[in-house]
Homo-oligomer: 510 residues x 2
């Protein structure tokens, strides 16, 4: 059966002396990493982590976070990666829901500890992920690894719970997505079948490792026994310097990172010739950004992955060959990955004809076990054997999937369906626009009215009427925004880089 | 969950109008194929095939056999591919073991029917795979498909039994290997992660489709919605003509087919430029053959897969980059595929150090459910969570697997272990030798003595003493064959192209 442990043992068998992780000056081989994982697992077991117990990790990306991804399941535990951008009360709620008694915490998040300790008396073991001496009451990560004898893999795998990832940032309250060893490792293979990665690759982890997209990318690295180059956070300078220095071949980036890179002067100043592939996803990439990326990084094969935490995450892939300027399929999320079955269904659960919008549903062994302690929501989401993604979209006659909206974000204005993505693509094409989001706001006659929230590029100017005129040239009248908010601060984003539309709606309704 | 049905539905979704099968002049799209599969499944259901019922297929490769691979599971049944080279009594034993009540049979095997009917009164439904009018008592395949309404996929998948493949041709009696939907489809993904195949490929099926290697290759074709070009049997002329005409890009061949191709004048007479990759396996390829193949087909990437029916089948892969003349790793079977854990273990079940010979063991979700109605043998083969392959071999420090022998074929002569593959490679390098096999025969003092069975090339001559002298120059004395049998007829091969050493031993002991 599949297990994260076997993935690690295979990596040691085929590439034990090869580099597993690079983090700043620190480099570990696969053999070293397995030894450290087995020791950390021993330390967790000594502190009472048994089969199925949750262990939370709260920190910026690091090689230690990478090790924890394997050490927790090796000890029989369940990894709970915590969104490092949450506020203390949100982290406390998340940890409380998970029931974790052990937390690994990075330096940047030490200020949250007083709140967490007060709210969560069950939190008995705190491990310091940082380099310096651990603060009072915390165990030092390196001291734990050094003091403990390695233990055997506790042998969980297959359907056993491996990770609990909280999600739901863009709509409603957080839910804990239960992913099994099989869910995670099958999705690695599904992804690789659609978008092959050579075994001698060097993967860049700069997207947050608490998010399922980079969890997958971490497991791709381990499944291939490739090298994982890890950055604690994103900046164009850090990414360009690191790609050049470590000869990074594959990077997973969220679209906002790609856009920031393209607009950065750093791009021209470094040798990025090693970079062969960029995997992006989590949200659609504006076509202008794709076009710029193809022009500025001609040697790079772009791969889009679409999915969600509930599917571990990849459901569909748009391969490099479709990334041609002007190709209308660039607006799609690609086609079902091998081993994934996609179906767009209407409210009665019937498959929609090509071109007809419905809810995107999926089947495959990458689909989650369910939501943690939410049996009713699990049953509703997994009904009739299909994962109901909550995403609206349609398939064309060739199986390409086009997203239109979260089902809950769809705007019904004057009896017409308006899909925010279509309007956003038009607005984004305006040269003055840096960011935009289109939402529905309550309206007495129309039920909902289309509203655009826009941030302009530095130095650019645009008023509401000019933006509406731009839209009227390309969109039916009922799709054009009646309301326009021009703001100077960036749009609120989830950890995955998706615009938090719920938050925008809440702000504008006040 | 994974199912053969979802694989087919995805193929229709992403490439419904693309070619699924090419067989002579007959071409079917994926949409046509699914329609035919659902109709054939309806016909099977009408004739009493229920969930878990076995349906046997006995015939040379054809597009109809390809359809049956999907139609039987679509109806909820279990496919039993029958080795088309067996004698009637062997087929009867095989069918009897499986309990199949339905048999699809090709023209070439109609002469076996009287024996089968006499031995197997439970065989109530016979379907004629051929083109002409069906013989008396048989149903016509096309009439069945035409008359029946398509039915819904009966929804089996995951751990449900999908196929029962009888094996054990080279040692001992036949055993029915139970493979689930998950076993088969996980192995497709494991293989693709190790040896990517583009979605627009055209796959040649000339190796027997009743053998697990081509079953995998058929499922690779379906998982990618690629085109499957099918030949009923092997000849160098047919293969070369077909590659050129159908622009075949990927072929699965057994080593004897590769050797026959290389020695054929056909090779030079056709445009084989479309051929990008040859997957070979089932038995090791002599190094002289590999070297010739690399020279004569320089545009082709060779991929070796090692495995067995019990692992559905791929366990390890030697990728194209290792196929360089003079590379010592050409003697290996490559490294564990992603998602497979390999371990070489001694008789007490302890892992062997690198370089030490033991039994090759494996774990992964591709490992069979067990042997059909043989619970004790299943428990013995799958003990301690590991598939015990029965193959002897060792791993080097870089995870490359080297096969030495079937455990049961290992020769212990005068207290020394002799691995037949090592001796066979030396003998095979002699220019006069066309085929050879090295076995152990009973010996009063030595317990076993090393014995070589050799077939010479046409026109070549070699006597036993000259062969022994050739061996003595390269092998320790105890490894050199004491006995030599020079024969003119080809060595007996299993359907998979492996030499039937048990049969040779039986012949020579008489």
């Amino acid at each position: 059966m599949f297990s994260l442990g076997m993935t690690l043992r295979r990596a040691v068998q085929v590439n034990g002396s090869g580099l597993a992780t690079v983090f700043g000056q620190r480099r570990r081989t696969w053999a070293e990493l397995q030894e450290r994982v087995a020791r950390l697992a021993g330390a967790l077991a000594t502190r009472g982590v048994n089969a199925g117990d949750r262990v939370a990790v709260l920190g910026l990306n690091s090689d230690r976070v990478y090790e924890a991804l394997f050490a927790v399941p090796w000890a029989g535990g369940v990894l709970v990666p915590v969104n490092s951008r949450l506020a203390a009360v949100e982290v406390a709620a998340w940890l409380g829901d998970s029931g974790a008694r052990v937390l690994l915490v990075g330096d940047e998040h030490l200020p949250l500890l007083s709140t967490l300790r007060a709210a969560l008396p069950q939190l008995t073991t705190l491990v310091h992920l940082g380099d310096g001496p651990p603060p009072g009451g915390l165990l030092g990560y390196e001291a734990l690894v050094a003091s403990q004898a390695p233990i055997e893999d506790q042998g969980r795998g297959g359907d056993d719970l491996a990770a609990l990832l909280f999600t739901g940032g863009t709509t409603g309250r957080s839910k804990g997505v239960m992913l099994s060893h099989r869910n995670l490792l099958v999705n690695v293979l599904q992804f690789l079948a659609a978008a092959p990665v050579p075994a001698d690759s060097r993967l860049l982890h700069v997207a947050p490792m608490f998010h399922i997209a980079d969890v997958l990318f971490c497991l791709v690295g381990a499944s291939l026994a490739a090298t994982n180059v890890i950055l604690p956070g994103f900046s164009p300078a850090a990414v360009c310097t690191t790609i050049a220095r470590e000869r990074v071949s594959h990077a997973l980036l969220v679209p906002t990172m790609v856009a920031a890179l393209l607009h950065s002067p750093e791009l021209a100043g470094h040798d990025l010739s090693s970079l062969r592939s960029v995997l992006y996803g989590a949200s659609p990439m504006p076509e202008a950004v794709i076009a710029g990326a193809l022009e500025l990084l001609p040697q790079v094969a772009f791969v889009q992955g679409y999915g969600q935490t509930e599917s571990a995450p990849i459901l569909s892939v748009l391969p490099p060959a479709e990334h041609r300027p002007g190709n209308p399929r660039l607006r799609s999320a690609g086609r079902a990955a091998p081993g994934v079955e996609l179906s767009v269904r209407d409210e009665a659960g019937r498959p929609c004809a090509p071109g007809v919008v419905g809810e995107i549903c999926a089947r495959g062994e990458n689909v989650m076990l369910g939501y943690w302690e939410l049996p009713e929501l699990s049953a509703e989401t997994l009904r009739d054997g299909w994962l109901h993604t909550g995403d609206g979209g349609y398939l064309d006659e060739h199986g390409y999937l086009y997203l239109v909206d979260r089902i809950k974000d769809m705007i019904v204005s004057g009896g017409e369906n308006v899909y925010s993505i279509e309007v956003e693509q038009v607005i984004h094409a305006h040269p003055a626009v840096a960011e935009c989001a289109v939402i529905g706001l309550p309206h007495d006659e129309l039920v909902e009215q289309v509203h655009a929230v826009v941030r302009l590029r530095p130095g650019a100017s645009l008023d509401a009427e000019a933006l509406r005129e731009h839209c009227r040239q390309q969109l039916a009248g009922f799709k054009c925004p009646r309301g326009v908010t021009i703001r100077s601060e960036p749009l609120p984003l989830s950890g995955a880089g998706k615009v938090l539309k719920r938050q925008l709606r809440d702000e504008l309704r006040r």
